[in-house]
């Protein structure tokens, strides 16, 4: 366990335990980290982010790391909390990370869908969506990664509340999505948005809602390939790289498409490890190796952003 903490980063945890560890990290490193509440979920659970900042002006250029938006993708939340501890452990030890934090702030949201996450642990391990109620339907929840205002209700979504890709009644109808959108818009100076999912070993960039090439597609492709190479350097885990629409399938209303269309150039989705045997049920023994290799990819992206601020 890192630095004498009693939190086992190689295990899956309850929401309460994750939030407690976030608080511990902030308490252990008060000059670098603070835990910030950005809103509440549909079922009134707090939504906490960790803000990593070495100070400087009020709204420095910033990076948003999003995890756990689809609640059953547990290695995403687990990787995120590991990453939080990695950042504080390596600051002032890793020159690349220190250089990033000297110029930019990092915001990390380990559990973007708290209600869904709790539901996977109390009722249904396979739950993906939020837990918001749909008037007139027995089916619960909206796909929070189809609810962003980026070609909302377009291809790759469904108007059926019972569908796993139900887009919701309108863009940002999900308070979990709205909270992130409002925070980022109010901040006004985000340069990078990375969304962690599982599973498939993919590193994708906009767009999901159209086959049309994003204006920065060439640069994003270069950045992504470099990140995938860095990731693979640890254990040989190979990632496929490309725009969402042509790498997997059309998907409208996604977080990174919204981010990109709202001025956040460096927008990427990671689909984490797929061993071919477990799907979403990646064994806990795989958490740390997955997080370690993902970190190399993330750091590569963040270093590029640091050197290419706009």
């Amino acid at each position: 366990e890192r630095n004498g903490s009693h939190f086992n980063y190689g295990a899956y945890h309850s929401l309460e335990a994750i939030y407690h560890e976030m608080d511990s990290i902030a308490s252990d490193f008060p000059d670098l980290v603070s835990r910030v509440q950005i809103g509440c979920s549909f079922e009134h659970r707090p939504m906490y982010v960790l803000k990593f900042s070495t100070g400087g002006e009020q709204q420095r250029p910033a990076i948003w790391l999003n995890a756990g938006i689809h609640s059953r993708e547990w290695v995403s939340q687990a990787t995120a909390i590991w990453t939080a501890r990695k950042i504080v452990s390596d600051y002032q030890k890793d020159p690349a990370l220190s250089a990033i934090l000297e110029k930019m702030d990092i915001f990390l949201l380990p559990v973007a869908n708290p209600d869904g996450y709790v539901y996977t642990q109390t009722h249904n391990r396979m739950w993906r969506k939020t837990r918001s109620l749909n008037p007139g339907s027995l089916c619960v929840g909206t796909d929070p990664n189809r609810n962003w205002n980026a070609s909302f209700a377009g291809q790759g979504t469904s108007a059926n509340p019972c569908s796993e890709v139900y887009h919701g009644p309108h863009a940002n109808s999900e308070v979990e999505v709205k909270s992130v959108v409002e925070f980022i818009q109010n901040h006004g100076n985000f340069k990078c948005f990375v969304d962690l999912h599982s599973y498939s070993q993919l590193l994708m960039y906009p767009y999901g809602y159209t086959v049309k090439k994003a204006p920065d597609a060439e640069e994003l492709d270069e950045v992504a390939r470099r990140a995938a190479k860095a990731l693979a350097s640890l254990s040989g885990t190979e990632y496929q790289v490309g725009p969402t629409c042509t790498t997997v399938y059309p998907a409208s209303g996604s977080s990174i498409d919204w981010a990109y269309d709202n001025g956040i150039k460096y927008a990427f989705t990671f689909e984490l490890r797929d061993t071919g045997h477990y799907g979403f049920l990646l064994p806990a023994s795989q958490i740390v190796p997955t997080a370690e290799e993902t970190w190399l990819g993330l750091r590569s992206i963040m270093a590029h952003v640091r050197d290419h601020l706009y």
Binding site: R125, V248, Y249, L281
Partner: protein, 94 residues
């Protein structure tokens, strides 16, 4: 908590557009109550589907009749879930 007794996860290879259409019909059909873990895409990636125990036979028959290649990646989903649970409880105890 919901149990997944007897449920399995199939990884289905998709070779062309015709197979994508057929598989899309299968996964969208309400009859089999399939849970798609990795969706059909136009680009040749295998599709992962959670097949409830009651649908195993009809889904196998469909895949065989349509000439699909597939493998069972998770034979006993509940066993995996039980292992995961046990590990979490053990960690909590520690």
């Amino acid at each position: 908590r919901e149990k997944f007794l007897g449920d399995q996860v199939f990884r289905i290879n998709v070779r062309n557009g015709d197979e994508i259409s057929k598989l899309s019909w299968l996964v969208n059909s309400d009859n089999f109550k399939l849970d798609v873990w990795r969706s059909p895409s136009t680009f040749g990636r295998p599709v992962d589907v959670l097949v409830p125990s009651v649908s195993l036979q009809p889904v196998r028959s469909f895949l065989a009749s349509q000439g699909f290649e597939y493998s069972v990646t998770i034979e006993d989903l509940q066993a995996l879930l039980d292992d995961e649970d046990e590990e979490m409880q053990h960690n909590e105890g520690q």
